[in-house]
Assembly symmetry: C3
């Protein structure tokens, strides 16, 4: 049995949670959508969803409706899912494949995979009309180790700057090789920031997640220093535990790029503002946050495994899927209870402990980006 000490630095006096308005005021929510979600890189999907030219996926976030599409040249691009004629949504499906062109279902304005307008019936009788003036609105897109990110800003910060040291640090998991085998979607009545905060400390684990704590001691965590665009760290698996699953068993070999001690750890990273990344010795869980209002967030959890394991007879991911489904539901319920309490009249900001230092860093991140704007 491991023993751990609370060796993190003490917290200064007077450091508290945010005022209620950060969780209840629709104007604050709009500020966050404008200055956080519309300026930062957002996880949009997996490269495997847009494997071939013409394959697309659609995401709605921060009031935008975005198509991610692989072009004939193999490049993955993002576009606003909005016809330049009368504003009609081009795609109604969450993902699929275009048949050579993108044709608006209303008046047949037609675009190629690079977003260029290549057909606009009856516009020849409009003075000065030129197809080249009406391409689809571009949205920046980048691919990293199998993940597709988009950025709604007209002048995005470079993706490498967003990623920083994470590219190197997470290389061993070779995430681009992993394949999604399960998706679960959870509509949660809580502000998106409460989900990030819940994710960023394990102080609640012995109380709320006895099974998780049984497999990975809540005091075993070490955090990286918080970065402007991400926060995270790692926790140890207890002796005899192979991976996080209902019984702590895996039945799979470790991911091929991992070395000790990664094979005995789970790494947790929150890539702000919408990707929570859980990297286990033998699988990856992605949790993505889709804010729908100041008190509502859609959450999508995807389980990804190595294709060699998937192909192996007897492959059974169920125990790891149900482990996180159970644990996630416990977290969403706590987040909903926090939302209810914080938005009730009795709430006053309360003191953080020294094991909630990432939450304080996250609060400051939110305030720096939205206060006074």
């Amino acid at each position: 049995m491991s023993t751990y000490a609370n060796s993190r630095p003490p917290l200064a006096s007077g450091i508290t949670t945010l005022p209620a308005s950060y969780y209840s005021d629709p104007a604050q929510y709009e500020r966050e959508m404008r200055h956080i979600h519309s300026e930062m890189w957002l996880w949009a999907g997996r490269e495997q969803q847009v494997a071939k030219p013409g394959d697309f996926l659609v995401q709605t976030v921060a009031g935008a409706n975005v198509i991610v599409l692989r072009g004939e040249d193999g490049v993955v691009r993002g576009f606003h899912n909005v016809c330049r004629h009368r504003g009609t949504l081009l795609c109604n499906e969450a993902e699929g494949s275009f048949p050579g062109k993108i044709r608006c279902p209303y008046h047949a304005w037609t675009y190629d995979y690079a977003g260029r307008l290549v057909g606009a019936p009856h516009m020849d009788k409009v003075e000065g009309f030129r197809e080249q003036d009406h391409p689809l609105g571009a949205v920046a897109a980048e691919v990293w180790d199998g993940h597709v990110f988009v950025n709604l800003s007209a002048r995005p910060i470079p993706f490498e700057q967003h990623l920083g040291e994470l590219r190197e640090r997470l290389r061993p998991w070779r995430m681009e090789e992993l394949v999604r085998v399960e998706r679960r979607v959870y509509p949660v009545r809580a502000n998106w920031k409460l989900i990030v905060q819940n994710y960023s400390e394990c102080l609640h684990c012995p109380v709320a997640h006895p099974l998780l704590h049984e497999q990975s001691h809540y005091m075993s965590g070490e955090n990286d220093p918080p970065q402007p665009t991400w926060m995270g760290g790692r926790m140890e698996l207890r002796e005899g535990v192979e991976t996080l699953s209902l019984d702590g068993r895996s039945g799979r070999t470790c991911l091929p790029g991992l070395r000790s001690p990664q094979t005995r750890e789970v790494h947790y990273y929150a890539l702000l503002p919408n990707l929570l990344l859980n990297l286990h010795p033998d699988y990856m869980l992605t949790i993505t946050l889709w804010p729908r209002g100041v008190g509502h967030t859609d959450i999508v959890a995807d389980w990804h495994f190595h294709p060699d394991e998937i192909a192996r007879p007897g492959f059974d991911p169920k125990s790891s899927i149900e482990f996180w489904d159970l644990t996630n539901r416990q977290d969403w319920e706590l987040s909903e209870r926090a939302q209810s309490g914080i938005t009730s009249r009795g709430y006053r900001p309360g003191p953080y402990s020294n094991r909630e230092e990432l939450l304080h860093a996250f609060d400051r991140f939110v305030q720096e980006r939205t206060d006074g704007r």
Copy 2:
């Protein structure tokens, strides 16, 4: 097979759809309800619904709840459906017949069919109270060829001015003779203006309505010059097509007042802001728009036929009903997709073609009535 040329005048450069706020801003919606729906004549129902003294129908529009009622003197009048005592709704039913008087179900204040207060229990102990000071609030009402219109304004423009040349032009259809045989109601998640715009061009017909285009060529349309209160025109039926129905057959004789070429045409008129009138050789379709919010409109479609045909053995309106039910649903879906796209961040006003000239006229109508007010 017909051939048609795009002979409408070219459109000047820079004529575009409206900014998104016209479709997303609740304040703009309120402006429209106040300066369009509360000032113009609104279709409210059919005279056959208020055939006898005491018959009533109720409509809610622009925040008003209106009773239309035929008086003992045979005159059709409109009233606010609100008791002058404590504001209770007098009628809860969409239509019916009053039993001699209008009695409030709360405290039995009672009105005659002319809206005069004729009973108010226990008000004798209130100093200065006189029944004649508390009639029902009047709403202007007019009947035209079987249609009942109301006007919420205190000083409505004359109904004849609203109608203009339409009275003469639509006389041959003798709409007052026609009888409703079917009603379908559609809640649509789109701004009411998108429904009017969808109605006002057939450029989308070959793309969205292959069956309609098969029976009536989308380029066969001729529009009247747009008027301040209505817009519209006509399209030809293709050779061998008798009326708009699933198979182009009618099985009915033409309406008795029609002459060539009306017997080979469908006439379409949008009487702003809430009646879309489709006049076929053998039946009438009325589509009425009931805005419920900036992004929600209830739509009511009614099919009306000649009583001689209804009485004929084997009368079967199904094919014409299903034709328009199908076509309407296609239009409502496109309108909802336009609503979604226009209210997403990627939308920018786009250029109209020269076959969308009525939409530009309609946009200017909206702007003239609501901008800066």
Copy 3:
């Protein structure tokens, strides 16, 4: 058969219902929640629900979420149901019993029944942190004849001042002895004030409640002079009627403290703002109002009987329960119709009769507390 005259004083000219905004404007609703519901004593439950130390009940009102709890010392106290750490709701249940302490389900901050923080894991590493600085937020609570009241104000007016003469006047019913046998909950689409107004006159009874009027003549009512915190009076049961029930029969003995004429009357008191109290010769009905928005109120009706009667073989409260369920539903429907009419454009304030004097007093109460604030 009784005969009654309208002997109440005449009403002066020009006394009318309130403008529509009092029933439609969310800002007015917020003013009422702040200056009425957050300053006055609110009915919260019955003492029998918190019989033993650790028993609790939870109510949400005026944006607050309140626990009422009996302490180890037998005292009933109120607390905000919000953890002082990160704002989590402590209880999710409407009532129950704590197991010795109140433990937050998120991070195990723990409070005793007096609201003192007695456990806060890992807070020892926070400079200057002291448990005694973080008790649960206190909410004033009082018990009166079996009823529990709370007050959200930091400086509540004394409960005795709220109650005034009522304590003495209602003593004979010995309400603390009565036991709840039925609860019905009604979500009503009407402003809470319309429910109070509906309750405060019986002018509508012959129109809306023929059964009630058959058992208790609508003109038999005598009102007390309206007080700043309550209004009410009594009505006579008709000859041969024992209590209000479907058939006017009781089958029960009168409550032991009652004397003539109370055994032949029903007493009705509105304790502002949320308790309507109907006291019959043999049972008590409490109707409590829980405003949920400017046009929505949850209503809870509870029937309470004497334990000796409940214990008697053949005890059957059904006829009294169904009598009021029927009568209440009639009232809720009228209140919803008033809400619809008042919030439609045709509404104008209308004149009160001299038998609606309590409504005018109530309107002034609302205006004095909210106008200009």
